[in-house]
Amino acid sequence: MLEVRNLDKHFGGLAAVSELDLNVSQGEIFGLIGPNGAGKTTVLNVIAGTFLPTRGKVIFKGEDITRFPPYRRAQRGIARVFQRNVLFRSFTVKENLLVGFHLRSSKSATEIFYKNAAAHNQERVEREKAMQILRFVGLSQQADELAINLPHGYQRALCLAVALATEPELLLLDEPLTGMSAEETATMMDMIRALRDERGITSVVVEHNIRAVLGLCDRIAVLDYGRKICEGLPKEVVENPEVIEAYLGAEQDAV
């Protein structure tokens, strides 16, 4: 479904990512891990279109999207959850989702001056759809609160909800579990799994929480200094001596 081919990304003289190949298939939860500064977020940024790669290609559903701006990738079905809680701060929780519906709803210029019955109907349908998504992420009680006033864990869930509002096929999750309690972490992991099982949504997860990644992901790639040093099932990755040396060595006791 998503293919990254021979990707290089340089910032000035610094090679953040080099010669990276990734292959994510439909309905998979793909983990991207590595020590700090390994280039995980850079890879995600290139897939989402925030950065253009120095070399290499990004192919999504057989289409070369390497040069697409982010909003066109969103049209193709790629949604993203940012590392920090990026939300529409001055909007309510529900309004945040309504912005997310932008892609799948057609609004004409005449609506600025006059709304006909169909437009009103569409608005009602969208509000209902927003509530459905909010119920899924467990925020239906907070629908009318300002996004900025939510606690961190809820904001994280709202980030996911906004991404879901675009009806994506591929979710890019940048550290979805940071700063969450054990309980919230478990809920978030359940949600990502449910999205895969019920809607067939593919996810690429960048995460620091190793235990969570091992439990959540179907396949994992490990980056170190911008290179992929290993890829495979969680079990294989943990046993790979190179990975242990590069990354897990210090944390082995913790895992």
Partner: protein
């Protein structure tokens, strides 16, 4: 229906009726001119606020006013278009220039955007000042004719050669423009503008073409700046573009002060700010060179004590009232 729902529309209707009756009530040509200019400024500041929805501050609004003013005047005088056609054409010209410039300009934010627009306006002004063949150069454009008289069947003919009559054209165009800006602000377009203001990276990633929506916003605001300019050209009857003219930096600063003093949070902010400050300015005119100081002092006062501008006053009073109520009775006041 609650009280608010009745008070608001009736007061708006009342104000519009008073504005329409103004030429009958005010005999003085001087005060009529001030009122007409105030209407033009209201449109300028309101369209400036429309850009502010993106959190961009444009210091180049007078530049687009200049395009509208010279555009309308030249189209009427050299091409021979009727006033209304020229006005719309000039507005479109101004918005087209904004669309083209908006693409590179809107990639930067904050101070950088402000500087770019400021320099653009000064560039337009210099071009108008030195292009003798087209704009009359330093002498300016003289004798811009009033709009041709309109004949209403059964009512007779109205000519627009006096300010009392031309005021009606200004008032009607400004009211139509304001209602369009108002509708825009309550539409899905403005919803996206505010989303872009809050988080442009997230707006991108949910599929909003951020660059395009910003350009549309800028082009719409500059369209109305152009319209205001066109109205101004026929109001003034002659145009010049030297540094102290209407198209200099001073106007930009005054427009900003009107916006800040009026309050940018609400649609009525720019309207109230412009009207209040323009009339304060007029009453302070006998003070001569101290007049800008009065405006400046008022601006500082508002910025320090009323962060929401004049339009935020009722909310502040409500807050104060509730606080007092709480202190005296020890019970929290209801909303």
């Amino acid at each position: 229906m609650n009280r608010r729902q009745i008070i608001k529309p009736t007061s708006i209707v009342a104000i519009i009726i008073i504005l329409f009756l103004a030429p009958v009530l005010i005999e003085s040509i001087y005060w009529m001119s001030i009122l007409a200019l105030a209407c033009i400024n209201v449109l300028l500041v309101s369209s400036l606020r429309s850009i502010k929805l993106l959190d961009h501050i444009s210091l180049g609004h007078v530049g687009f006013t200049l395009i509208g003013a010279y555009g309308t005047a030249l189209l009427v005088m050299k091409v021979g278009l009727p006033f209304w056609g020229a006005l719309i054409m000039a507005g479109l010209m101004s918005s087209f220039v904004a669309l083209v410039l908006g693409y590179p300009f809107l990639k930067v934010k904050g101070m950088y955007f402000a500087i770019l627009t400021l320099l653009t306006a000064e560039t337009f002004r210099s071009i108008a000042y030195y292009w003798r063949g087209l704009t009359g150069g330093q002498l300016g454009l003289l004798n811009i004719p009033p709009p041709s008289p309109l004949t209403f069947p059964g009512l007779g003919t109205i000519s627009f050669d006096t300010i009392h009559n031309y005021y009606y054209i200004i008032l009607i165009v400004v009211l139509i423009s304001l209602s369009i800006i108002y509708r825009l602000e309550h539409s899905h377009l403005s919803f996206k503008w505010q989303a872009i203001r809050d988080a442009d990276n997230l707006a991108q990633s949910v599929g909003i073409n951020v660059a395009w929506y910003k350009m549309v916003n800028f082009a719409i605001a500059c369209f109305f700046a152009g319209i205001a300019g066109g109205l101004f050209a026929h109001y003034q009857h002659n145009l010049s573009a030297d540094a102290t003219s209407r198209f200099g930096v001073w106007t930009t600063l005054y427009l900003l002060i009107y916006l800040v003093v009026g309050g940018e949070a609400k649609f009525a902010g720019p309207i109230i700010g412009t009207l209040v400050l323009m009339f304060v300015g007029e009453f302070a005119r006998p003070l001569g060179e101290f007049q800008p100081m009065i405006i400046g002092a008022l601006a500082i006062f508002v910025v320090l004590l009323l962060p929401g501008g004049i339009i935020g006053l009722p909310d502040q009073f409500k807050l104060l009232y509730r606080k007092l109520l709480k202190q005296t009775t020890g019970v929290q006041g209801s909303v």
